[in-house]
Subunit: 80 residues, 2 copies
């Protein structure tokens, strides 16, 4: 049994209004030295695979086919 830890983030060229809002709120709490805030999704799932390679393939396909929007988002994951 493996665990996949997946991060899905907006591509750098895409505006992130949610991130801007969070950053603005942090500034109003007094944290002036924060910039470039970006918000994404974090997905954790257990994969019952025979090998790490198989788990890797399943995670990769899940990201491509369901978890990310290939036009606007990037993903990265680790299998442990």
């Amino acid at each position: 049994m493996f665990t996949a830890k997946i991060k899905v983030t907006l591509r750098k060229t895409i505006l992130d209004p949610q991130g801007k809002t969070v950053e603005h709120s942090l500034k109003s709490l007094g944290y002036d030295n924060i910039s470039g805030t970006r918000i994404g999704k974090y997905v954790e799932m257990k994969i019952d695979a025979k090998s790490k390679e198989e788990a890797n393939k399943i995670a990769e396909e899940s990201c491509k086919r369901l978890l990310s929007n290939p036009v606007m988002e990037d993903y990265e994951f680790e299998i442990i």
Copy 2:
């Protein structure tokens, strides 16, 4: 300049309907060997701090005060 990579996840005892839905969708795509899917938030931000300790403190406070709901969510982060 440091980068904080923050994961905010629902506590294990809290039901995660969004995770269940994603898992159900993955199953209908043919991935039967996936379980325990949990969805959280991923936040990345740049912190202009003098030391790693200071960046650490700012990230910790941001999580506590704004990014997570302490009743329902856990957070973890790394500073690089």
